[in-house]
Symmetry: C2
Subunit: 324 residues, 2 copies
């Protein structure tokens, strides 16, 4: 952790500008308010209806359709839009950015965001690409909540020569949002995310699509009997389509690499099923069990059976579920 | 629903024999006790250690390593073992089955179980293959709970000439366990389950295996960052390896058919990513969203974001999560 050249004052920032007010942006607005991380929250989003909704929810202190108006005088600017729109936003806000301001984003791909944003960043503005690994299958300003980042990781992919004080100030911001901080290069980030996030979403979308297309099994049957496994995939497959289209288009190489490995492994598994190789199946099915245990131990998953759904359906049984 | 030839008395059965006392068997034991569905619960399992554990948990009234001893005098026998062991169990209990008794099972594949069990069933015993679509990723007698079957479907695949009174008595049993009843032929069952349950488990096992094999991304990274999607797959991939090996070996044809369709669709999706076909991606990602909504409306999934994990982690926020 870098040496702090001066103590970090409260609030951390005089004015924060949130560009995009969907699940992530609106969760940030809520936690910034709760933790008093900024003196003023300016909000901008392209859609007038969404901006109005953000205002009804009292998520900020000022509201703008033009992102350039929102960032004026801000000392922290967070871009929370589908990654394919990053360049456009950067271009729109660049002339209004204050010297010394920190500019960051929350995009799920980092090489592409850097390529889109960096050319527009004025001298004296600290651009620090970031990615909080947090989200749900819901989207829009109503879906956000202040606890979203609690105990989740926020990854920075700083460019060479990044100002250490700015990086520390941004890290402190995310820590106060509840997150743990990691730093890596953008290329490695994109590879890691391809396997832990992008491939799972693509596979989930694909299997739900396959089921939807069947004729021998009706859609009603798929829905009725989904609790036997299928429904687990539908959560990721209900994620925001625009966000995920952009992720697929902007992390293409790493995703194609992971898809190739997945398909190769699936062919091998398919062959074991066709030829009745029970030992091979048993070995794989045993090995995969340990990973869930490690994820639970790392505090990234709950131990309650069935994702704890039962606790939500039968709250009176919550104590029992938590114990297990 | 068949006409009831006589009122169903309480308890429904004088003596129930549970062969196998894992997640399903032990959940049955608990709900049978709670709902007073039997005068006596006899339990048998192959492993002496598991049998001892069942006794410590007071799941039954009598305990036997030999399943033949457990079924003597029972008027309902439920086989809850990995499907590959069904024939062996049927052979062992056949000589001790009481005329007029109902013999059923809970196996995830039905054509194979029928082929294994039917040849051993004595004249006068009602064999009714069944499959409660319920379970969690946990296994063993400690993992069971009485609510497991609540609002889940139980599918029967009755053989031609099945006694309607026996079928109605077994249906009433499962209804009192909390389940809804459906009936279909075994071949259709195996096709339906291949898509709603078997393919999802195989895909989950496969993707967790792929992640485990990577070298460019470490296992520590996969675990740390799993909340961004990957962890959803680890639940199914933590299911009982013996059970799932048997399912793969005993529903081979339907599983291979579904795997072929899945892979075909995945190739097409992969091509769209490679060639930057954003519209195609957006269309698929939009279509799949509707299915989750239908599953929630059908009461087979909860509406809380993130499977309601947040409610289990932060019980004080439960009301808020349930509202959303």
């Amino acid at each position: 952790m870098p040496h702090r050249s001066k103590p970090l004052s409260d609030p951390l920032f005089n004015k924060i500008a949130l560009i995009g007010i969907g699940l992530i942006g609106s969760s940030l607005a809520r936690v910034v308010r709760r933790e008093k991380l900024a003196g003023h929250i300016a909000i901008s989003t392209r859609s007038a209806a969404t901006l109005k909704r953000a205002e009804e929810l009292r998520l900020g202190d000022s509201y703008f359709v033009d992102p350039g108006d929102a960032v004026r005088g801000a000392d922290l600017i967070i871009i929370s839009v589908p990654v394919g729109s990053s360049g456009e936003v950067a271009q729109a806000i660049a002339p209004a950015l204050k010297p010394g301001a920190i500019l960051t984003d929350v995009g799920s791909t980092k090489r592409s965001v850097i390529a889109q944003v960096e050319p527009h960043v004025p001298e004296g503005v600290h651009f620090i690409p970031g990615h909080p690994l947090a989200g749900t299958e819901k989207s829009g300003p109503d879906a956000g909540f202040a606890d979203l980042f609690e105990n989740r990781w926020c990854i920075f992919t700083p460019l060479p020569g990044t100002d250490t004080e700015a990086l520390e100030r941004l890290s402190e911001f995310w820590r106060r949002c509840g997150s743990n901080i990691d730093t890596m290069d953008a290329e490695h980030h994109d590879m890691v995310l391809a396997i832990v996030s992008h491939l799972p979403h693509i596979i989930a979308y694909n299997i739900v699509g396959t089921a939807d297309d069947l004729q021998a099994v009706t859609k009603t049957e798929v829905i009725k009997y989904s609790a036997s496994g299928f429904r687990d995939f539908t959560r990721l497959a209900a994620s925001d389509p625009t966000m995920w289209r952009d992720v697929c288009l902007h992390n293409r190489d790493a995703i194609l690499e992971m898809l190739a490995r997945f398909s190769e492994d699936l062919s091998s598994l398919q062959r074991a099923i066709r030829w009745g190789d029970g030992d091979k199946l048993f070995d794989l099915f045993t090995r995969t069990r340990a990973i869930r245990r490690s994820i639970i131990e790392a505090g990234q998953e709950i131990d309650a059976p069935d994702f704890g759904r039962q606790a939500v359906e039968h709250p009176q049984g919550l104590d029992q579920v938590k114990k297990s």
